[in-house]
């Protein structure tokens, strides 16, 4: 009796659940509109050009709505989840945010080999993306870096140009204001590196009380000359205005400052901090919307599409198999290879974020950093 009623109750749901995860092509029920969330600006344009427009050409009856809310995606997703009404279908977030969303149960865990297309060279999705899959919910898209740009017309530098990250901390040889991001991530690593800590010991050192003190002491040496930025557009603006002579920001922003706006600024690739950006699928989507998103995301993250994106913005594709396919900039016609953070010339020395470490220490470190700033 009991068993029978349960069978009747659950059969429908039991049949539906595995179907959602099955191969997404075929005659399945798919929603005909989806809301994608991204960062706006040149980055979102590159996504529209590289994946969304071609996808809509293949599926003319699908409507894609863009929402430029990635900056507050974590809080918005939590609010939507609590209200039980998730209106977003696919959200572009930083790798660190994807971990937080995954931990909070706000993003869907996926089986990468099943959901994502294999690489053009025949490799599995998990091998193709490799270490960039930092959490069970994360679908990597691009690798970008936070790195420094410097002005090339500073008289006080007597014709010297910085070629080492530690020149940022050298006020005698390279005087002038610098802009750094107003959060500990990146700054602490650079400070320790320039205080003589070996690259591989950075996070172990930061775990100790003395290590943190050391990093702050190093930052103290330039603190009076630092403008702290919060938005990615700040540093390019400050560099263009001559307000700062050195500034950290995302490499794509510097690319457009140098190549598109032709400002007297150069890139300092040394010790760039690699970071990853990608998609997450919100938890709890209805079946038809989930099918549509899975169909889109499989297409949008295949080898060719990720390589195409590099024609519109100077961020490296997250798939290893995409790298050989990167071509020229769609409008400027310059070869994009040398502008990629992943280019061998540029990536001689890079800091790779330790996401697990920052997920643990972020709150603590941020409180210390803010306390340090206000004193």
């Amino acid at each position: 009796m009991k068993l029978k009623s349960v069978l009747m109750l659950t059969t429908g749901a039991a049949l539906a659940a595995p179907m959602a995860l099955a191969e997404s092509h075929g005659g399945m029920d798919m929603a005909d509109s989806m809301t994608l969330v991204s960062w706006g600006g040149a980055y979102q344009d590159s996504q529209i050009n590289a994946y969304a427009n071609p996808y809509q050409e293949m599926n003319p009856d699908v409507e894609i709505v863009w929402d430029e809310s990635s900056a507050e995606a974590v809080a918005r997703l939590r609010a939507m989840n609590e209200a039980g009404n998730v209106t977003w279908d696919l959200v572009d977030v930083l790798a660190s945010d994807s971990m937080r969303l995954c931990d909070e149960g706000l993003a869907m865990e996926i089986d990468h080999d099943e959901v994502l297309a294999p690489g053009d060279d025949g490799s599995d999705a998990t091998d193709d993306f490799g270490d960039l899959i930092v959490s069970d919910c994360f679908i990597p898209q691009i690798v970008f870096s936070t790195t420094f740009g410097y002005r090339t017309d500073v008289e006080e530098w007597n014709g010297n140009t910085p070629d080492d990250i530690c020149d940022v901390f050298d006020l005698e040889a390279f005087p002038g204001q610098r802009s750094l991001e107003r959060r500990p991530i990146g700054n602490m690593e650079w400070a320790l590196l320039c205080d003589g800590v070996a690259m591989e010991d950075i996070y172990d050192t930061l775990e100790t009380e003395e290590g943190v003190e050391r990093a702050f002491a190093k930052l103290d040496t330039i603190a009076d000359e630092v403008v702290w930025w919060t938005a990615g557009a700040d540093t390019p603006q400050l560099l263009a205005d001559g307000e700062v002579v050195f500034g950290s920001t995302y490499n794509g922003r510097l690319f457009s400052l140098i190549e598109e706006q032709d400002q007297p600024v150069e890139m300092l690739w040394d010790a760039q901090v690699f970071d990853i950006d990608g998609w997450i699928i919100p938890e709890g989507l209805p079946e038809d919307r989930l099918n549509r998103v899975l169909d889109f995301v499989r297409y949008a993250t295949d080898t060719q599409r990720l390589a195409d994106q590099a024609a519109y913005i100077s961020y490296g594709p997250a798939r290893a198999s995409s790298a050989p396919l990167v071509g020229e900039h769609a409008e400027l016609g310059i070869d994009m290879g040398p502008h990629m953070p992943t280019d061998p010339e540029n990536s001689e020395r890079v800091i790779v974020f330790n996401y697990e470490w920052w997920a643990d220490y972020r709150d603590d470190m941020d409180a210390r950093f803010q306390a340090w700033l206000s004193n």
Partner: protein
């Protein structure tokens, strides 16, 4: 007062119909009151539903802490008798409870949430829970391999279902299932209902208590959350761990020998093979996964944050903290909130003061110039007011930066040396300048509306009585304009105390407000509890100041237009 119904003796005053006047009056007023209430009811309801209730809900988060108890119910209950001061990590019973709590939480993907929650208090908890959650299956797998080696039937879903449910008697331990249902509701934070389609047998539950419990948890989760059929699903790893634990329990042998229900032979065989089971305690398992499980601080934090309500967020908000040893001050290099609250109040006062200084003369001009000129001036005041806040703030950046318009101008006229340009932005000065400009209309408008109502004849009268211009202004005009200043001050102060976009953009490191930290905790760290606590304190400060203001100036003396 004369009233024809009044009586001169000391009985109650009666109305015309002979009832006491008081009661009659109250009745008449009551009808009026009800009518008035009905008229405002829609608005009141609207405000309660859309404004007061959400705010109350948000503020409630500042003390709410049910997530720890809901996710780890057995652990927190067992841990209650543990004493941090003993200096010893908790005993095996706590680790055993933790294993089953964590297992269910990991199945429901809730263990990382409690990890994030505890990470706010003790760095490292987040990865501790995330990492351990991944390897919980391993322990059960090891046991499973042994049972399967003894008899492959242990792998079969149907066997387990009959073994745990049928038994030979009709005594059923239905309470186990109800307990699991309640527990799931608490864990998932939403009511879980429905028929599990399985009832554990009381006899087997007495022989294998842990196993029955673990299987009931599995059954409830399978039926109610995964919506699968219990009898068709292979039990999860925790059930095998539980069986191993039960087999090794003292006195298990006699009970098993006496048992004759479904699966008695298989159970006896498994019991005899118990020496082949990997010999690992729960404590060893956890500490092997991560040595932090053996650390006092980990358990102290879980212990301190077990109760459903916590003062922890409020303590953090005032630079204190709740540690396993009790309440103590935050280490100096982590104290920021006191400074920020103080700075927010101080800078709001300064902004309010500069708004009065700048706004009063303009409002005076507006009120006293001929209509045509004053209208033009009023438009000049309102135009920036109608411009987007972000545009105005960005404009200030362009004006104030070191290579900006103002510095260029000062260098050009020679007031400032080129290599010593003024630092006007990314500090307190920048915030004060930009916010004074943005909030100025909120000072000017109420001042203007009050000043317009002061008859010019007052000043003329004062002067005709021999007052100088200054005396006439100070003794006659100014006191009449005080209600406008009061209104302007309240508006500007309360607005600026909660401002966050402008300080964020131009405040640099020394010009940010407490609201910037609240925004950080809402959108970046997701520590909504702390954000709610900071918000509650801010709200309380505003209410206290409002009360003080009412005592000093009197709220009746405020005219908002």
């Amino acid at each position: 007062m004369t009233d024809n119904t009044a009586q001169t003796d000391n009985g109650p005053v009666l109305a015309a119909d002979g009832r006491p006047l008081k009661a009659s009056l109250r009745k008449a007023l009551r009808a009026q009151k009800i009518r008035a209430m009905m008229l405002i009811a829609p608005l009141l309801l609207f405000i309660v539903v859309t404004f007061i209730a959400p705010i109350a809900d948000m503020l409630f988060r500042s003390v709410e802490n049910q997530i720890v108890g809901n996710t780890l119910p057995e652990t927190t209950a067992t841990l209650e008798s543990w004493d941090f001061a003993n200096g010893e990590p908790p005993d095996e019973a706590v680790f055993e409870a933790l294993y089953y709590d964590m297992f269910l939480a990991a199945e429901a993907r809730r263990h990382t949430r409690v990890g994030s929650r505890l990470n706010y208090e003790e760095t490292g908890m987040s990865s501790l829970f995330r990492g351990t959650g991944r390897s919980l299956d391993d322990l059960g797998d090891d046991y499973f391999d042994v049972f399967e080696g003894v008899d492959p039937i242990w792998e079969e879903a149907g066997f387990w279902y009959d073994f745990m449910g049928a038994g030979d008697g009709d005594a059923e331990a239905g309470g186990l299932i109800d307990a699991q249902r309640d527990r799931l509701s608490a864990l998932l934070d939403e009511p879980v209902a429905g028929d599990v389609g399985f009832v554990p047998d009381a006899e087997i539950a007495a022989i294998l208590p842990r196993t029955a419990d673990a299987y009931a948890a599995f059954a409830a989760y399978t039926a109610l959350v995964d919506e699968d059929v219990v009898a068709e699903e292979e039990p999860w790893e925790a059930v095998f761990t539980a069986l191993a634990t039960d087999l090794r329990r003292d006195g298990a042998g006699e009970a098993i020998a006496a048992y004759s229900g479904d699966g008695a032979a298989e159970l006896q065989a498994a019991y005899e093979a118990r020496d082949q089971l990997p010999d690992i305690s729960y404590t060893e398992f956890f500490i092997e996964e991560d040595e932090d499980w053996g650390s006092l601080d980990t358990w102290g934090t879980i212990h301190a944050y077990s109760p459903s309500f916590t003062p922890g967020y409020f303590l953090t908000a005032i630079d204190m903290r709740l540690t396993p040893e009790g309440i103590s001050a935050q280490p100096e290099n982590l104290q920021i909130y006191g400074t920020l609250f103080g700075r927010t109040l101080f800078m709001s006062m300064v902004i309010m003061g500069s708004c009065i200084l700048l706004g009063y003369p303009i409002a005076f001009l507006l009120a006293n110039l001929p209509m045509r000129t004053s209208n033009l001036l009023l438009i000049l005041v309102l135009l920036p007011f109608w411009t987007s806040l972000l545009v105005r703030t960005s404009a200030w950046k362009v004006l104030l930066q070191q290579q900006g318009v103002i510095n260029d101008l000062l260098v050009w006229i020679g007031l400032v040396a080129d290599d010593n340009r003024l630092q006007l932005i990314n500090n307190q000065t920048g915030t004060i300048i930009a916010m004074t400009h943005i909030l100025l209309p909120f000072m000017i408008l109420p001042l203007y509306s009050v000043m317009q109502t002061i008859p010019p004849s007052y000043m003329r009268a004062a002067k005709s009585l021999g007052a100088t211009d200054w005396t006439a202004f100070w003794r006659v005009y100014f006191p009449n304009s005080v209600p406008g200043i009061g209104a302007g001050c309240i508006l500007v102060f309360i607005l600026s105390i909660g401002y966050y976009i402008t300080p964020e953009l131009v405040g640099g490191e020394t010009g940010t407000f407490i609201s910037n930290r609240i925004a950080y905790h809402i959108s970046d760290s997701l520590n909504w509890g702390l954000a709610a606590a900071l918000g509650s304190i801010l709200l309380a400060v505003v209410l206290v100041l409002y009360w003080a203001y009412d005592k000093l100036v009197g709220i009746d003396n405020v005219k908002l237009g």
